[in-house]
Structures are given as structure tokens and as C-alpha cells.
Symmetry: D2
Subunit: 337 residues, 4 copies
Amino acid sequence: MSNKILNFGIIGAGRIGRLHAENIASCYRNVKLKSVSDLYYENLHEWAGNIGIENLTGDYRDIINDPEIDAVLICSPTDTHAQISIEAAKSGKHIFCEKPVDMDPDRIREVLKQVDASGVIFQVGFNRRFDRNFRKAWKTVREGKVGDIHIIRITSRDPAPPAPEYIKVSGGIFMDMTIHDFDMVRYLSGSEATEVYATGSAMIDRSIAELGDIDTAAVVLKFENGAIGIIDNSRKAVYGYDQRIEVFGSKGCVTVSNETDSLAVISNESGVWSEKPKYFFLERYKESFIIEIGEFIESILNGKKPPVDGIDGLNSVLIAKAAKESLLKGKPVKVEL
Amino acid sequence: MSNKILNFGIIGAGRIGRLHAENIASCYRNVKLKSVSDLYYENLHEWAGNIGIENLTGDYRDIINDPEIDAVLICSPTDTHAQISIEAAKSGKHIFCEKPVDMDPDRIREVLKQVDASGVIFQVGFNRRFDRNFRKAWKTVREGKVGDIHIIRITSRDPAPPAPEYIKVSGGIFMDMTIHDFDMVRYLSGSEATEVYATGSAMIDRSIAELGDIDTAAVVLKFENGAIGIIDNSRKAVYGYDQRIEVFGSKGCVTVSNETDSLAVISNESGVWSEKPKYFFLERYKESFIIEIGEFIESILNGKKPPVDGIDGLNSVLIAKAAKESLLKGKPVKVEL
Amino acid sequence: MSNKILNFGIIGAGRIGRLHAENIASCYRNVKLKSVSDLYYENLHEWAGNIGIENLTGDYRDIINDPEIDAVLICSPTDTHAQISIEAAKSGKHIFCEKPVDMDPDRIREVLKQVDASGVIFQVGFNRRFDRNFRKAWKTVREGKVGDIHIIRITSRDPAPPAPEYIKVSGGIFMDMTIHDFDMVRYLSGSEATEVYATGSAMIDRSIAELGDIDTAAVVLKFENGAIGIIDNSRKAVYGYDQRIEVFGSKGCVTVSNETDSLAVISNESGVWSEKPKYFFLERYKESFIIEIGEFIESILNGKKPPVDGIDGLNSVLIAKAAKESLLKGKPVKVEL
Amino acid sequence: MSNKILNFGIIGAGRIGRLHAENIASCYRNVKLKSVSDLYYENLHEWAGNIGIENLTGDYRDIINDPEIDAVLICSPTDTHAQISIEAAKSGKHIFCEKPVDMDPDRIREVLKQVDASGVIFQVGFNRRFDRNFRKAWKTVREGKVGDIHIIRITSRDPAPPAPEYIKVSGGIFMDMTIHDFDMVRYLSGSEATEVYATGSAMIDRSIAELGDIDTAAVVLKFENGAIGIIDNSRKAVYGYDQRIEVFGSKGCVTVSNETDSLAVISNESGVWSEKPKYFFLERYKESFIIEIGEFIESILNGKKPPVDGIDGLNSVLIAKAAKESLLKGKPVKVEL
């Protein structure tokens, strides 16, 4: 590995932006957190000081226009991702962009066009690919251990729904939540979805329906390579964050169950009790957030293709869009590729 | 319990008919296996002698017309079930009929009409309801422990596809294999399916497609009570008979995984090895076949409603029919109720 | 297999005697339950009638002296086992004797002398060897899959202690409870114990100490082949009957955990709940009681050595005796072989 | 938490010393790694530079005598621990000392005397107490969830024995390996061992016997509070690092099984395969090494008692000494308290 020190800028210091910053400070000595931008940057001085961030600003363009900055992490609200990505690419910055890149495929295509033209690295924050369990499942599939893929199943259930204000701008469950699963089935299958059937309703909270969204869903995907993908989502599993995958094929099946807070098992008069799954994504995918940044850094230093790129960002949104349409129409919809 | 000895007749001594006979001989002292009919009855003398069957015949009507016979088990080929049921009901015999009752819902309605008119017990052989694991899951749901049901998932995979000659007359995967899962989701949900989306193809064996069937399927069901059912089937899981269910709701989730031949776990340089699931239905559901007959006997003796009745036999076939149609049309189909 | 019908007599119709009788009636058509003897035989008429037993008597000699009887199952109180075995052997009856054969090794040697002289089959009721899980572990070891055996561990805990009247005549925990584990380590190791260290106390119930017994114990055994055996016992595990074994060696490790009443797993706000182990030995070892009788029958029909013989009966008692002595002396004791 | 920056010195930069240094650099911003001493310090410049260590020296006294240094981590060879601890205490430095403090209890008592006199924090590196799984088990016991403790079982098996040169100076398996388990049973039981019975031999490698040590052991401990501890050790489990604990009591049982590298489970024709346990202590106890240092830092900042202190360091060695004696004598030995 190179001895080069990279200068990073982080645009948007909400929960995810701060997590990336802290991980970089702890784990990647070859990256300097030169600048962080956020609308509410005045509140961030203590936090920034603790982890050695040099500059705080309220304007992301201070980062885009800083010639020393090698790469930016775009962690601002979704509706800003595309614009900032385009400006960053024009400015020759490598880009790590949180999901989704945008809810409009055409807007994403604009981003990818600029990224191509500028020749910068563009990586999308589908962190679950970097989870050691899912990575092991993917590796198992790639090594041919399940043979031809027949059925991929994903269960993804959150411990609690987001706040109504969030739901209003989230783009709906498929764009906000299932999009991770769309990326995961693409990753596991190594193929593209051709058709989507999506159904569901607001079973947990009627107010979610009033906001035009659903909280419980089932999605069936058909893939180019013949595989079938089956996803079930819920915005509220009272027992925690349920994240399970399964790839079934001609030679076998690989499954991944839930990580827990400890392996302690208590047996008593009432039964045999084990821990619930880890509570939510920050706990469950803690290491994956670290690893995805590490691979982004490697891509920059080695000129390698990023592990999750703009096409992954685009195609997951195309599936989400088709899923939304299928839910409305009540029948399967082809995925525009 | 009564001291009455019941006389049973078994119509059809194929694998399932002989299994029921042997279970009755071993476990139910209050039932006499008076007669067994089968086209190939001449080959059955030694078997029949071993378990104390009095009469063997090539003509089922010898059983139907025998005034001593209290009840019949109809285990003959599917296309004879309806006719024999009607005759048996007319003759005042209680009836245990293997699944499916018939592939034509109207024909089933004729059977049920006669059964009602005759006032006999009519139980359908959906044995999985009597599996202790699935029964525990059902009980858990009925006790309200998962709350309102949101998602029911079933994975049902056979170790190997049936012979081509069987596939030709099976009525297709939904009528032959998934029908057990249709009954199970009705049982678990306590509700009726209103709509079915089914998809799939012949991924294991192209010749199955040539026979007009598929071997891999995904089915999404909508229920009257709002629950979503998701079923995945495969005719060939190389690791054995995969039979898993899950009911997820507002208060929690109950799952059932696969029974194995032993609990021995071997750890060595290669990993940690556990037993595969039990091979196929005779091994996996061994006790359920015994229990379903026991509850049939109890219904007769106590005049109780049978645990699985004609409506269950009809409605599962209605779902199967709708699934077939959905597969052909490529979109969801309403279930005729 | 032969077509011969064997005539069995059961001596002692307590819980275990009745269980053997019922299993034979259900499962072994080639055995006729000709006679059952018990001090309280007058109460057994309905039970005996239900399962087809021909004769009931209060005097076991009616069975011993009946020339038609081929074999006897000795299920009477422990202090009668030796005497009845000797008489039965003299009378040319094959013998299945419940454990322990006797608490006095010399008395057992008298029995074995008579058995040898008479040339009858003598099998001891160490049923756990016939449990499919432990049998699989044993097979795994014999196939060399764990290599040279280094450590064998057994945890054996009852759901509740026996009644004080029983404890008084039980011979103490090692003779009554741990003796199964002594047999199991001999079975798994394929070797003989040379030295025993046993310790323990009455942790559950002080009154057990007043009866001169203990309720919690740890035993370390050294084997001729170098293996170490480690056993822990408790008379009261509130979560049920805990029966786990492990054989660790140069090439790996095989473990067996507890069977449960069902595989249902419930996840909710409090955690992930699984079933407790099956309650006690009748539930947990149900099939083993059937199989051990089956192998006894086979030994008789085929003239094969029984799978558990008099030496097994003797050597387990020798270990139990040494364990008692070790507990008293507070140091290891050599096993007299 | 205080804003104070502590200056640490690390004495001994072998594997464990470097691990502690790297963890501090990554995780504890309020600690400056001012100095590191090691005989081979010339080779450490690049490593030291990467993690921001200011000074490297070949003489630990440069650290002891540095008035700026607040605390030292003693990670040098065992036979230097006591001397350096005494000097460090005299110099007013807080001390984190790797296990064992010394193999001679009297020498440890000298250390503790100086530590008391100097009023410094003295923490011993029994990191497993900080493992989240074992901590959860401990918490479960302390909350009374298993009731009165009856039996504590520990299985601790390494993937491979140490090199012969190491074995020669290790003090033997009880002082080097089982000492962790002695500390763990003290931790879990909340009591002191009164008597030890230890047995074992060189089953894996005869050359270990030639070095006067054993590689396979069983230890039975009696505790003041009546509990029995049972430990089994092996220097070579081919399937990895086997670290399991169990606490069984009057109200239930808590067990902890092995962490694995991933939760991927592969089912195929051969069976159901899961990952082996994590390979060795650096992998398995990765977080515990971080947490133990964190709690050491807190003790310094808050003046709290350290979570593992000199008494823990002494009493574990007393048990190890008694175990050695028991192995030689072939009988139980009282622990000198």
C-alpha cells in the first residue's frame, strides 16, 4: 500500500456522515479528514475537535473547490446527492455517495455521465455487501458451492418505522428500505432483474398509508439468469433488526441468520432464551461501514474499480421504481434496463 | 374414550395406504382393519397377514357395501377420490380422503354436498397440520403470541422430483406439491386467500417443462385478514427435504426449522458439520400420519368436527387452480371462493 | 428374519415393565407377551387386556418355570434382579435385565457365571446406547472421525430428585443415576476405566445428605486407552432433562445436545425463545427403549451377542462402587477390574 | 469523563504489547502513547511512527523514571513482571500488568505490598472477563438468574500447542493456559477455590511430556460457596479455539458457545456446514483487549478500583500452583489462601 495521505471531505454530518468520519479517524491513518460541511456546522466544533477534523463549514462548495481534497463522502439529504456528485466529479474529486444516488434514474444517468467524463472513482454506500456474513455467502455462491442459482430469499425487517416527516420525503419503502435488498439480490445473483411484482400495505401503522406509503411488503423478482428473488420487508419487528438471506441452487443452499449482542443462552423453567438480533443498522453493520470506506480508499490508491459503482446505484433505483409501479398497478412490471 | 371397536376399510394400498394401515395396526387398538382393496391385491397377502387385515379384495365396492365397515380411508389414485367418496358417503361411511380430493372444484363440491346430506365425517389428509412443530407454531399464533399476522413464509423443497409418468397426471406442482403449503397458510392464518400471484419455471430439469409443469416456484398470497403469504418451492434440494415455516406479526415471530436424523455435530478441520434434514415426507412427517388418523378416529367416536374437512380440501384446490392460472397469465389472479 | 414367534415373560410391571410391554405389543409382532408377573397383578387386568397379555400372576416363578417362555424381561426392584436372573438362566430363559444388575459386583459375577453356564443371552437395560443421537456419536468415533480420544464429557441432569423412599434404597447417586453415564463413557471410549475421582454434595436438598446421598456430582475417570472422562450430574435442572455428550480427540470433536418437544422458536420483545429439553427419560429416550428390545429379540433369533451384556452390567457397577469410595475418601480410587 | 490526556508507557513490544499500543492509538484519544520500551526497539521505528508513539527505548527504566508517564502497561516476559511492577509502583505509576504477575505467589505478594504502599492502580490482564459473551453470562449470574451456583464448566482448547522453547519457560499448562480459566471460574462464581484436583497427560505430543508438561487436562475445583468448577483443556483442537463456559444453578443455566468468523451455513449433499470457531485469542477476544484497557483508563481517571486487581492476579496463581501439585501427587490439594 502506498504511503500517500489522502485528504477527504465529508459533505453532510448527520448520523451517517459522522459515523464515516469517526471510522476514518479510528481506522485509516492514511486519510486526513480535512473538512466537513453541514448546514448546522456551528454545533459540531467539539465533535470535530475530538477526531482531528481541520475545517468545518456550512457550504459544501468549500470542499468541492479545495484543490487539496482528493475525495468526498456525500452524506447529505438524498435530494442533494446528484447535484453535489456532479459538481464533485467536475472538480476531479473521487466520490463516495450514500444511497440512493437519486430517486430519478435519469438524474442518476446524468451523474454517471459526468463521473465517466471526469474519470473519478464513484462508489455507492451499499454497505451490506461488506458485511462479513453476506460476503461469505456471496463468496460461497461465486465459488459455485450452491450451483446454478434458483431462489434467493431476503428477509429485512426494521425494529421501528421512521418518523412521518422522513417517510414523506423517503420516496417510499422500496426506494428507502428495500433498495438495500435490491442491491443485495443483484450482488448475490450476479445478474439483473427483468421483472418485479410487489405488493404490501400499511399493516403496522395506518398513518403510513395516509402518507402514501406502506410498511409491510413482499417483492418477487425475476432475473436474467433465471433465478427468482423473494424479498419480505416490515418496518417493525418487535424483536429487533431481522436481516436474513438465503441463496438456494442446484448444488445446495447458503443461509445467513441474525447476529446477536451475545451468545449467552439462558435455560430456565420457562424455556431456553437467546439474545435478540442486534437492534438496528448501526449495531448490525458496524464493521461493514468501516470496510466499505477501506475499499473506497484502496480503489483511489490503486486505481481499481470500486466494489459498488454507479451502475449498482442506478439499477437498484430502477428496480425500486418498477416495484412502486407494480404496487400501484397490482401486477408485475418489467424493469427498464 | 369409548370402548367401541371401529371397523375400517382402506381403499388403495399404495405407499400411503399401507402406511396408514400399519400405523393403525400398531397404534389404534380400537380400530380393526377389516378390509383392504387394491387393484394388485394378490401381492398383498403376506403384508396383510402380518398386520392382521381380515379381507383383501380387488374391488373397493366390497368395502363400500360392507355394512360392518364404519369408515374408509381413500388412498387410491387422485382421479378416483371423488367418486369413491360420494359412494362411501351414500353408504353412510365416514371418510378419510387423501389429498387432493379432486383437481376440479366443482367435483369437490359434489362430494361435499353428498357428505353433508349423509351426515358422515369427511377428513382430508393434510397431515402436516398434525406435525408437532407446526402444531406448536399454530398454537403460538392462536394464543396471540405473534399478534396480528403480517407475513407468513413457507419454504417447501423436495429432495427429488417425481417420475415423469407421475408428473403427467399430477395436475402440476401447485396441485400436487404446493397444495400442502396452501393448506398450511390457511391453517396458520386462520383466514382465506383472496388473490394469488405465482411464478416459476423448470430450473432443475427441462423435461419437466416439456411435460407442461415447472419445478421451482414462488407464490404470493393475499389473505382476507390482510396477511401476506409467501411460498417458495423446489422439486430438488440436494440436502434433503426442506420444510420451514414462519409467521411474523405485530408482537413477534414464530419459526420452525428442519428436523434432522440426529443432533450429532462434528467439528473438525473443515468446519462444523450437522445432519441434513430428514430425507422425505415419510421420515419427516412420520408421527403426523399417526396423529391425523387418531384425530379422525376421535371425530368418529365423539361426533366432533374433523380437524381438516371438506372445505379445507376445496379451498386449497381453489388456491392451486388460481396459482396455475396466475403462472399462465403472468399476473395475480383472484381466488374464487 | 425368522418367522418364529417368541414368547416373552415380563417380571415386574412398574413403569419400566409396562413400558417394555406396551412397546412390544405395538412394535414387535414376532413376540407374544405371554405372561406378566407383579406383586400387584390384580390391578393390571384392564391394562393387560388392552395389549393382549395372556397371563397375569403374582409369582415370577410361574414365568421362570413355563417351558413355553423363551425370554424374560426383569423389571422388578433392583434387589431381586440377581436372584431372578440366576433362576431364569438355570431355566434356560434368555434374559433382558434392567439396570443395575445388582449393587454388589460379586453378586453380579454369580449371575454371569450362571448365564455363561446356561448359554443364554443376557442383555442389560442401558437404553441410552440405543438413542439415535448417541449412537450416531458412537459411530462417528468408531469411524475414526475424532481420531484418538482425548476427552469425553457428559452432562446428565434430572428435572427433579427421586422421592426419599427411593433414595434410601437406590444405592446412592453413582449407582442409580451416574451409572448410565459410566456405561456411556465405556461405550463411547471403547475402553475400561482404571481410576475414578468423584466429588459432590447435596446442593439442591439437604435432606438428601441426611439420607447419606448427594445430589450434585463431578466425576473424573481415567481410561486404559489414555482418555479422560468428565461427568457432571445434578438431580434437579429446572429447565428439564439435560443429556449432553461430547467426545473430543486428535481429529475433531462430536457433540450431542438436547432433544426438545418442538423446533418452534418465538422471537419477541423479550428475546428469542426455544423449547426446553424433553422433560425426563420416558420422553427423551422413548425410541431407545423400543430399539434395545428389538436388538435383544434379534440376538435371540440370530444367536448374536447382545449389544449390552453382563460385562457391561458388571463394569459400570465397579466404576460406581469406586466413585462412592472416592467421594468418601476425598481422593481418586482405582477401579477393581 | 475527564478531558485529561494520560501519558502511557508500554514496556515490552511483543505481540501483546503491540496489540495494546495499536488499540490505544485507535480507540482512546485521551491517552498519548508517549513511550515504548523493548529489547529490540531498533526494529520498531516504522510501526511506532505509524501509530504516533513519541519515544522508543531499549530500557524500561526510561519509562519508569519519566515523570510525565502516568501509567505503564507491562507486557514484557513473565519473569520480569514482578520487578518492573515494583519499580513502577515505587515511581507512582499506575500499572496494567499482563498475566501472570509472577509464578511465585510470594513474589506477587511483594508486588501487591508495594502497590498498596504506593496507592497506584494495579490491573491484571485477564481480558476474557471483558468479552461481551462472558460478561453477559457473569451479569446473568449476578442478577440471580441461575440462582445458587452449583456447577461451573469451562472448556478451553487451543488450536495448537506453543513452541517447545515457550513451554520450557511457561510454568506448565496450569500456569500458562488454565490460569485464564481459574480466573474465569473465580469471576463467575464470585467465590474462592478451596481445593483442586488436576489430572492430565501429553496426549497430543509426547515431546511435551519430555519437557515436563502436559497438553490435555481436567481440573475439578471446590469453592467456598459450595460450587464445583470443572475445567477441561487441550493444547490442540483441530477445529479451532474452543472457548465455552456454563454456569448451572438452582434456577437455571447460562451457557456461552463459540464465536465464528461468519454466520453463513451451507447445506449440500454432505450435510449442513457451519464455520469453525474463530482461530485463536487475538481473533476471538479482539474487543476484550480494547475494553480492558478502557476500564483501566477509567479507573485511573475516576479513582475507581480496577476491574481485575492484584488479588485476582495472586489467587489465580495459587490455584495454578495447587493444580500442579495435584497433578504430581495424583490427588486433590488444598489451595493456600
